[in-house]
Amino acid sequence: MTDPLLKLSHLNKSFGALKATDDVSLTLVRGEIHALIGPNGAGKSTLIKQIAGGLRSDSGTVEFAGRDVTHLGTVPRARAGLGRTFQISSLAMEYTVLQNTVLGALGHDGGVMRFFRPVMKDRALVDRGMAALERVGLADQAAKRTADLSHGQRRLLEVAVALTLEPKVFLMDEPMAGLGASGSKRLTGFLDALRAQAPILLVEHDMDAVFALADRISVLVYGQVIATGTADEIKRDPTVREAYLGAEDAV
């Protein structure tokens, strides 16, 4: 096995007396989808923020592509190749769909201090933005205002913007939320193929998707990783069943 691209070691984060992240260690290796599941309030969103750089950890380290990024902010982590999608769509709503992906391509390209040439006539950027939209199936919506997209389409646009960054690692916070059955199925197929391009740390509530996709699953409860393993191992794990999946045998 190759060195992990993303490695969290003993991360902690407290808000007052609440331990939101409690000694979390996990890794993400090339080619895998590592799902992070857990009940509401388990600390998934906090952990995502600690990984993405929006929230400083109290202790522990975040290593990314062999480099310690614990003390870096969101921007340098993004530049280092962390492609994040948000749980609640975080897009430039006044822009067209294509402008959002072009913004992503621009972020990846750098060179933002250019004041004269129209960016939407910059073939290289527009082509990259368009290609990302095609991959998630939003190409026909390119000229639409982002605010006019449906909730599910915004989720896909989040993924498309992350694609334009050509990241080394995807960090996806509930990409399936609000997609509906067919949409969720299509995105599952897409993510399945995407892992070859870059590994995905996937936070997801849709258990069908998680069990279909994940090479490994980590279960987060009260800020602690109580188990890590394959889908089958997790399904069989008695502590997981008790703490999370519940007695009703939902799975």
């Binding site: 402008q99 972020g107 933002v112 004041f115 960016v119």
Partner: protein, 327 residues
Amino acid sequence: MTRETLLNIVLFAILPTTALVAFALDEPFIITLATKAAILALAGVGLNIALGLGGLVSFGHAAFFGLGGYAMGILASHAQSYTPLMETPFLIEGTKSMLVIWGVAIVASALAALAIGALSLRTTGVYFIMITLAFGQMLYYFAISWPAYGGEDGLSIYVRNDFPGLNTLDPIQFFAIAFGILAIVLFGAGRLAKARFGLALSAARQNAERVETVGLTPFRLRLVAFVISGAVTGLAGALFADLNRFVSPTMFSWHTSGEIMVFVILGGVGRLFGPVAGAALYILLEHTLGGLSEFWHVYLGLLLLLVVLFARGGLIGTIAGREVAHD
């Protein structure tokens, strides 16, 4: 051609048409009004880069307008009295050359914007408004208490400064200079808004988190926008001082900041030609309503209220509708 493009062409033509008709009818006062509108529009175009594109509600743009004004006043007053600005460590003389004065005004206000921006842009929302206001007022009181350049009374410059090949005291020729600059800056601001920088800056206004996630730093984008914005407003200040042949601390006062903001809001925040529409309308109201009543600001206030309540896109938004997609 979209409705906004058509409207922009009309707006662009209004000032020179007014000036030329006034020239034909031999009404120099009207030409001066058109010149004033062009210069105030320029100040508004500057503010609009920060306010409209960047979402930075600066209530201190009078600082840059005033610095531009005083750059002109100080340089020209020294040239007028044949005294050097300073002798040690090296000699700096005053000047009556507009081109040099503009350069100094742009550099001075850009540097001020860099310093003010670097501090104020660490705050957002109401704190940003307050801190920019505070910087503006600081310069205002400084100008009042600095007797070397007239203090509270301001500075009079007897003859308008020189521009190669033109007689700047001729109203129509000075109008041509002011309008020429406005046209150039409008072109540049239009390009900037559609360029890479504009895309990223406007995205940072809509959603800073999104911009960070793609690896761009909102603070840097905003600081650069603030500097460009301040420099343009500073240039407008130098022209305004030349128009009046007079500089006073009023240029630094928060009323001035408010007025520049009114041009932008009346015309349409973030619209390229918004400040042109706003400044032209302002001057028009000032000289029609102002003739009827000393208290014409009441009507201006009423109009502003209506615009903010019912026409968020300002004049341009009302006529041309929502801004359209990319082209």
